[in-house]
C-alpha cells in the first residue's frame, strides 16, 4: 500500500502470523468454508437450471431412502478411499503424487494380465491379481521416485507425464491385442467369476469395502503407531532436521512413494475387479485429482479420508442422477469438489493470519 503525503490518522490493514488457534476455532472455520463452498456450488447448479428442491431430492432423499443407492455410495467410496490414502502417504513424505491415475492404469493392466492369462490356480487368482496390481502401481511410480530422490526432478510434472504415457499404453492394448474378442469393444474381456471381487450379500456391495477399511486401518497404524510414521512426521515437519538427525531421508521418501504407488495400483484392481468386471479405457478418470483433494481435505488422516470419501461419493452418485435427469455434465461433480477444496484452502488464511486495522 503506497500512500503519499503526510496524511494523519489513516487506517491501515496489517497482517500478522497469529498464535495457533484452538481446535474449536479451527473446526468452526473449516465448517464455515465447507458451507460456503456448498453454497457456491448450489448457486451454480441452480444457474444451470436445476431446482433447489430437486437438489435436496437427488442428494439427500434419493440416496438415503433407497438401499440400492446407499450401497452405490459405499461401492463408490471404496476407490475414493484408496486413492485418498495413496495421495496421503506420498504427501506425508512431501512427494506430490499427481500420477495416481497412471499407477491405477498399470495396476489394472497387471491384474488383467493375471486374469486373462489364467496365471495361478483359480482359488488364488484374486489374491494374485491384488498383488500384481500393487506391483504394477509400484512399477509406475518407481521412476519418478528415483529421479526425484537422486536428481531432484520435479515429481509433480514427472508423475503427471507418466499418466499420459500410461493412458496411451492402455489404449494401445485395448485397441490392439487386448480388445474384447467377444464384443469387439475396446475393453478387456470380462473377468471370470472367480476373478471378480465377491459380493458381500447386501445390494451391490462387495468385499472391496473390506479391503478399503483394512487399508485405511493399516495406514492409520503406520502413521500413528509405527516408527516409520514417526519418522515421516519428522520429515514432513522439518526435512533439514530429519537429515541432520541421521534419518535416511531418501529411503524414507522411497518407501512412502512405493506404498503410495501400490495403493494406487490396488485401486485400479478394486475398480476393475470390483465395479466394472473388466478393464475399460476410462475406469480411472478423475480419481487422481479426487485422491489429492480428499487427502488434502482430510489432512492426510486415514479416518478423515474415510469420511471425506463418503461425502465425495454422495456427490458422485447424486451427480450421476443429475447427469441422467438434467443433462448436467458429470464435470459438475469435479467443479463442486474444486470449489469446496478452494474454500477450505482459502480459509486456512484465517487460521494462520490475523488481520488488524491500525488507526493512529
Amino acid at each position: 500500500m503506497n500512500y503519499s503525503g503526510n496524511i494523519l490518522t489513516k487506517k491501515r490493514l496489517n497482517l500478522e502470523v497469529r498464535e495457533p488457534l484452538g481446535l474449536l476455532a479451527k473446526t468452526i472455520i473449516f465448517l464455515i468454508s465447507v458451507f460456503l463452498g456448498l453454497s457456491i456450488s448450489i448457486f451454480i447448479l441452480i444457474l444451470s437450471g436445476v431446482n433447489a428442491s430437486d437438489l435436496w431430492n437427488e442428494f439427500i432423499i434419493y440416496i438415503f431412502t433407497s438401499q440400492k443407492n446407499l450401497s452405490a455410495v459405499l461401492v463408490q467410496a471404496v476407490p475414493l478411499t484408496i486413492v485418498g490414502l495413496s495421495a496421503a502417504v506420498a504427501f506425508r513424505a512431501k512427494f506430490w503424487n499427481i500420477g495416481i491415475e497412471g499407477q491405477m492404469i498399470f495396476g489394472a493392466i497387471a491384474a488383467t494380465f493375471i486374469a486373462t492369462n489364467d496365471v495361478g490356480p483359480e482359488s488364488m487368482r484374486l489374491a494374485l491379481m491384488f498383488l500384481a496390481a500393487a506391483a504394477g502401481g509400484i512399477g509406475w511410480i518407481i521412476l519418478p521416485a528415483i529421479i526425484k530422490i537422486r536428481l531432484d526432478v520435479n515429481e509433480i510434472i514427472s508423475t503427471l507425464l507418466m499418466n499420459y504415457i500410461a493412458f496411451n499404453f492402455l489404449l494401445h492394448l485395448l485397441y490392439g491385442s487386448w480388445r474384447d474378442p467377444l464384443t469387439g469393444f475396446p475393453n478387456s474381456q470380462q473377468y471370470d467369476a472367480f476373478e471378480i471381487i465377491p459380493l458381500i450379500g447386501w445390494q451391490s456391495l462387495n468385499f472391496s469395502i473390506v479391503i478399503a477399511i483394512f487399508l485405511a486401518a493399516v495406514i492409520f497404524w503406520l502413521f500413528v503407531f509405527s516408527r516409520f510414521g514417526y519418522m515421516l512426521r519428522v520429515l514432513h515437519s522439518n526435512a533439514n532436521m530429519a537429515q541432520s538427525l541421521g534419518i535416511r531421508v531418501g529411503i524414507l521418501i522411497f518407501l512412502a512413494t512405493i506404498i503410495s504407488g501400490a495403493l494406487a495400483g490396488i485401486c485400479g484392481f478394486a475398480v476393475s475387479a470390483g465395479i466394472e468386471s473388466r478393464m475399460t479405457q476410462s475406469f480411472f478418470v478423475g480419481y487422481g485429482f479426487s485422491g489429492i483433494l480428499i487427502a488434502f481435505l482430510a489432512r492426510e488422516n486415514p479416518i478423515g479420508i474415510l469420511i471425506v470419501s463418503l461425502l465425495f461419493s454422495i456427490l458422485v452418485i447424486g451427480g450421476q442422477s443429475l447427469q441422467v435427469f438434467y443433462q448436467i455434465p458429470f464435470a459438475m461433480v469435479q467443479l463442486i469438489q474444486a470449489i469446496i477444496v478452494m474454500c477450505v484452502a482459502g480459509s486456512e488464511f484465517f487460521i494462520r493470519y490475523r488481520i488488524s486495522i491500525l488507526k493512529r
Binding site: V17, P329, F330, A345, E348
Partner: protein
C-alpha cells in the same frame, strides 16, 4: 523434399501454443509464483475462443483476445488465492486445473458449443513470397498469430530485461524483501505477473481451438499445459531457451500426422507418447547437468508476508 516442406511448414502452428504458454509461465514464475494451473488456463482460453466464434460470429482475432482475457479472469481468482490468501501454490494450481475442467465442460455443454466446427483462422497469403520454394511456405505461409508470437517475444524480452518494471518483476521472484524495502509493491507485481501469464496461456488455448482444431471438445488441451510447465524447467526461465523448447516440441507434434500421411506404419499410441517421454528425458537430462538450481527464481513458490518475524 516435399515431406520436409510439409513437415517444417506445419511446425510453427504446433510450436506457437507452446511458445505462447511458456512465455506466460515464465513471466508468472519470474515473479515467484509457481503456476501449476497452466492446463486449466489453457482450457479456459480454448473454450472461450471457440465460444466466441460459435456464438458471436466469425471474428477470430477477437476470439483469441477474449480467450486470453477469460484466462486472466481465472488468473484473478488464482492471484486472490495465492497472493492474498497465501494458499499453498501447488494446491491452488491443482484446484485451478480441476475448476477449469469442470467449468469449461459445464459452460460449453450449457451453451451448446461442444463438437461444433467453425472456420477459425487461416494462414496469411503473402502472394509471391509464399510461392518461394521451401522458404515460402515455411516462413511466409503461417497464420498471423505465429508472427504476433514472435513480436510478443521481442516485446516481452524488452519488458523483462529493459524496463524498470521488468527489473522489479525479476527481483520480486528472487527476493521480495528487497523489492519491498525498495518501496515496490510485491502484491501488485505478483498479481500483474499472474494476469499477464494467464493471458498468454489463454491465448495459447485460444490458438488450439481457433487456429488448430477449429472445434471444441472437453479437455482439448490434452495435457499441453503440463508440457508447458515442463518446458519452463527445460528453458530454465530464459526466454530464448523457451523458443528452442517450443520449436522442438512443435517439430515432434508436427511429425506425427506427417508420418501417418505419407503412410509410414507406426504404432500410433507409442508415437502419441513421444512428447511426454521426451519431456521426462529432458527433465532428467537438465537435472543431470545439475545447473538447474541456480536458474530457478529463488522465491518461487513462497508466499510473501512482510511482518513475518524470524
Amino acid at each position: 523434399m516435399d515431406f520436409l516442406v510439409f513437415w517444417l511448414s506445419n511446425v510453427p502452428s504446433f510450436a506457437a501454443p507452446f511458445a505462447l504458454g511458456v512465455l506466460g509461465m515464465i513471466i508468472c514464475e519470474r515473479s515467484g509464483v509457481l503456476n501449476l494451473g497452466a492446463e486449466g488456463f489453457v482450457l479456459v482460453g480454448a473454450m472461450s475462443g471457440a465460444g466466441v466464434l460459435i456464438s458471436l460470429g466469425d471474428y477470430p482475432l477477437s476470439a483469441i483476445i477474449i480467450a486470453g482475457a477469460s484466462a486472466s479472469a481465472l488468473g484473478l481468482l488464482f492471484g486472490f488465492l495465492v497472493v492474498l490468501l497465501r494458499v499453498n501454490q501447488v494446491i491452488a494450481g491443482l484446484i485451478m486445473v480441476f475448476l477449469a475442467q469442470g467449468l469449461t465442460s459445464l459452460i460449453s455443454r450449457n451453451m451448446g458449443w461442444v463438437n461444433k466446427p467453425f472456420s477459425g483462422l487461416g494462414r496469411i497469403d503473402f502472394g509471391f513470397l509464399t510461392d518461394i520454394p521451401f522458404l515460402g511456405p515455411v516462413i511466409f505461409g503461417q497464420d498471423i498469430i505465429v508472427y504476433i508470437t514472435i513480436l510478443l517475444y521481442i516485446l516481452s524480452f524488452y519488458f523483462i530485461y529493459r524496463t524498470n518494471i521488468g527489473l522489479r518483476l525479476r527481483a520480486v521472484g528472487e527476493n521480495p524483501d528487497a523489492v519491498d524495502a525498495a518501496g515496490g509493491n510485491v502484491i501488485l507485481l505478483r498479481f500483474m505477473a499472474i494476469l499477464i501469464g494467464a493471458f498468454f496461456l489463454g491465448v495459447a488455448g485460444g490458438y488450439l481451438t481457433v487456429v488448430v482444431a477449429k472445434i471444441w471438445v472437453d479437455g482439448i488441451s490434452g495435457g499441453r499445459g503440463w508440457i508447458i510447465i515442463a518446458l519452463v524447467i527445460f528453458a530454465r526461465w530464459q526466454l530464448w531457451r523457451s523458443i528452442i523448447g517450443a520449436v522442438l516440441f512443435g517439430c515432434i507434434e508436427a511429425l506425427i500426422p506427417r508420418l501417418a500421411a505419407v503412410g509410414v506404419q507406426l504404432p500410433q499410441y507409442f508415437i502419441l507418447m513421444l512428447p511426454y517421454v521426451v519431456t521426462i528425458l529432458v527433465m532428467i537430462w537438465s537435472n543431470l547437468k545439475g545447473n538447474n538450481k541456480q536458474d530457478t527464481p529463488l522465491a518461487l513458490g513462497r508466499p510473501y508476508l512482510r511482518e513475518e518475524r524470524h
